[in-house]
Amino acid sequence: MTQIDGTINNAETNAINNDKNKLEDQLLSEAYDMIQQGVFDIKSEMSRELSMHKIESKKEVYAEKEHYIETVFAVVKKQLLNFRKTESYIDYLAKCAAKAHEKLGGLTKIYVTRTDLEIMKRIVTGVEVKQDLRIMLGGIIAENDGLTMDFTFDKKIRTEREKFEQRIDEI
């Protein structure tokens, strides 16, 4: 083979290899893109599935916690209803009124449930006793010069419930 033959053969081989390399690079790039897209889709799909599973699991735990909280507070409310029929409840109302008087520096109004109106009027004198429809479970809201103190069972139940929810969360 002459030198010129070799040169031409090399040029031919180089051109072919060059084309093949370019083609391979292009196909590799296509395959790489396909894998990248596939991995992204799988990751998204799995992540979505995992999130759904976590949410479902949390929902179940939350529902169970709520069930116990409701059970506990249903019993407490029942006990409060019974408590309102006792002499101790009248003591409770009197103590609340005295405490409010001390803390607020006097009393101008006391709000109670309709059923507690007469009891409260017997406990305090010189104070306006009114019905407040927001009070459902008992207790009083005391007022003096625009300042109020809330001793209602309704408010106390809410506060106790928040504390109890935290307690259950810590289990």
């Binding site: 002459t2 010129i4 033959d5 031409i8 053969n9 040029a11 031919e12 051109a15 072919i16 084309d19 083609l23 391979e24 196909l27 590799l28 296509e30 395959a31 790489y32 396909m34 894998i35 596939g38 991995v39 799988i42 990751k43 799995m46 599935e49 995992l50 599973h53 976590k54 699991s57 179940e60 735990v61 169970e64 916690k65 116990y68 059970t71 506990v72 507070f73 019993v75 407490v76 006990q79 409060l80 408590f83 101790s88 409840y89 409770y92 103590k95 609340c96 405490k99 001793f151 069972f153 106390k156 139940i157 106790e160 109890f164 307690r167 259950i168 289990i171």
Partner: protein, 104 residues
Amino acid sequence: MEKNKDPFVASQAQASELFANAQNNQVRFGVVSTAEIEQIRREYIERAQRRIDIYRENEQEHLENMMREIDEQRVDKLRRIKVAYDSNGTQWIDEIFKSIISAD
């Protein structure tokens, strides 16, 4: 007769012949490569798909493990809440009730 040929002319003729061959090869490569390209492309796609399938299998296994872990944690949490309620429920109710009826 060959011996009498001018070496330069002979080389020129050979060069033309080789160049024509090279051109033919280019064309042939071009024609063959269409099918060849598709074949190579298919192979690459199949390989990429295999990689994706393997990745999916691994991720699925990983996901199932994580889900199992979440389930175990949930079951454990539910069990702990039940045990706590069974042993302390009455006490909790009593504490809450006393706290509510306290005027302090």
